[in-house]
């Protein structure tokens, strides 16, 4: 009897130890897998005073062809900022109007990405020149920042080219990045 008890005393911690490290090891493996499947992407939203764009870092899963990845990134941009308002940093403003959907993206042979939005991007836009700049370059800078091989971005509305989004800024041609409008030292974590 004493022998069985002795065996149990030895076995129980051994089994417990095996289980503990197995679970811990399993957790570590799972975590590692998630991290490798996710990417830190940069999304640009407006500062509260609407003076400039501010980068927000968000971790999302990206995979598949470039059109799928760019579509996912724009969908994240449309969701708006998730950065928490703190005492030192105020919330960021989404410069894509409510109700806007992205119909699709397509890369042409010249490295320009065409992004097709629903009509709300134009119809629900507030209309000021600077507000228009913020909207356009939140889209253009988000794409060119996360996909460096894409140098130019063209905005379409329901499959059609538009001269301007709100009457002031030329969107008839693909646009290149504009980092003058970005305040990098105010980066947020989403």
């Amino acid at each position: 009897m004493k022998r069985y008890i002795l065996i149990l005393i030895i076995l129980i911690p051994a089994i417990a130890g095996y289980l503990y490290f197995s679970v811990k090891s399993g957790k570590r493996t799972t975590t590692t897998n998630i991290i490798t499947d996710k990417n830190d992407i940069v999304l640009y939203f407006s500062s509260e005073d609407e003076e400039y764009l501010v980068p927000e870092i968000r971790e999302i899963k990206l995979s598949g062809p470039i059109e799928t990845q760019t579509l996912k990134v724009i969908q994240e941009l449309i969701k708006g900022s998730q950065a928490q308002q703190t005492q030192s940093a105020k919330g960021l403003i989404n410069v894509i109007p409510d109700g806007v959907k992205v119909n699709g993206t397509r890369l042409n042979g010249m490295g320009a990405l065409y992004i097709d939005f629903s009509r709300e991007l134009k119809e629900s836009h507030p209309g000021g020149s600077w507000a228009e700049m913020l909207t356009i370059y939140s889209i253009v800078d988000t794409i060119t920042k996360n996909f460096p091989d894409i140098k130019r971005v063209k905005i379409l509305i329901d499959g059609r080219e538009i001269e301007t989004l709100a009457g002031h800024i030329d969107t008839s041609k693909p646009l290149t990045k504009n980092m003058d409008i970005v305040r990098i030292d105010d980066e947020r974590k989403g």
């Binding site: 609407e50 010249m110 000021g128 020149s129 301007t164 009457g167």
Partner: protein
């Protein structure tokens, strides 16, 4: 030499014609205030007041890109301005921000980098014809650079005069690639005289005293611009005038 005495104020600086461009119009209503006030109506009314003030007080011609509530495409506005051989182009708008809480006046002008990058862009993704356009682009680039510098200079005068007359209003100034300004062959600015979506600014835009201050500030800026140019002319007498 005697002819010099007959040059009026505008002639002596080369400033003869001001082009006023009331933004939007017709089916394009522009921004809209919470109380239904429309940008296209507000800017037309203020532009007409400005025209009357300029023609009443200064020896300058004024050309309007529209003087009623009608659709005028951007390219038509540019051709009206360019065909009038205008010397200064002012596009009058109200502003709108993403947040209704923001108020303020904005002055926008082109900067040289913007113009150069825009001129360097291909119209299409077919770049075969680019070399043929080089000369055209370079010549336009040379002409535009002077307009850009003058537009920036006039914008700074506008900011100074607006702050002076409306000290409780934020007056911002930024170089941005405004579509209408890129096709204008003269110094140009776009002024947003208040955020129509903001309650405080919406009320101000209907207030005659506020509108008067806006038009006075613009008038003072034109005067300052003329005087600054006169100063430069007297320091560097124009060969054109000597020839006359």
């Amino acid at each position: 030499m005697l002819l010099l005495f007959y040059f009026n104020e505008a002639d002596s600086t080369g400033l003869k014609t001001i082009v006023i461009d009331p933004g939007h119009g017709g089916s394009d209503k522009g921004g809209e205030g919470r109380d239904g006030i429309l940008e296209k109506d507000t800017v037309l009314q203020i532009s007409l007041s400005l025209r009357n003030k300029i023609t009443g007080k200064m020896k300058l011609n004024v050309v309007m890109t529209r003087d009623k509530d009608n659709d005028v495409p951007l390219e038509k506005r540019a051709s009206i301005a360019n065909e009038s051989n205008g010397d200064l182009f002012m596009s009058i708008h109200t502003g709108s921000a993403h947040s209704d809480e923001l108020s303020g006046i904005w002055i926008f002008h082109l900067d040289y980098e913007t113009v150069r990058s825009e001129l360097g862009k291909s119209d299409t993704d077919d770049i075969e014809g680019d070399e043929k356009k080089d000369l055209e682009v370079i010549l336009k680039d040379m002409a535009q650079s002077e307009y850009v510098n003058e537009g920036a200079r006039f914008s700074e005068l506008l900011q100074k005069n607006l702050i002076e007359l409306i000290p409780d209003q934020k007056v911002g100034l930024k170089p941005i690639p405004i579509s209408i300004l890129k096709d204008i062959n003269m110094p140009s600015v776009l002024i947003e005289i208040g955020n129509i979506t903001n309650n405080k600014d919406g009320k101000r835009l209907k207030d005659k005293e506020y509108v008067n201050k806006i038009t006075d500030a613009i008038l003072n800026s034109i005067n300052d611009y003329i005087m600054a140019n006169e100063g430069e002319s007297s320091e560097n007498p124009s060969s054109d005038r000597d020839d006359k």
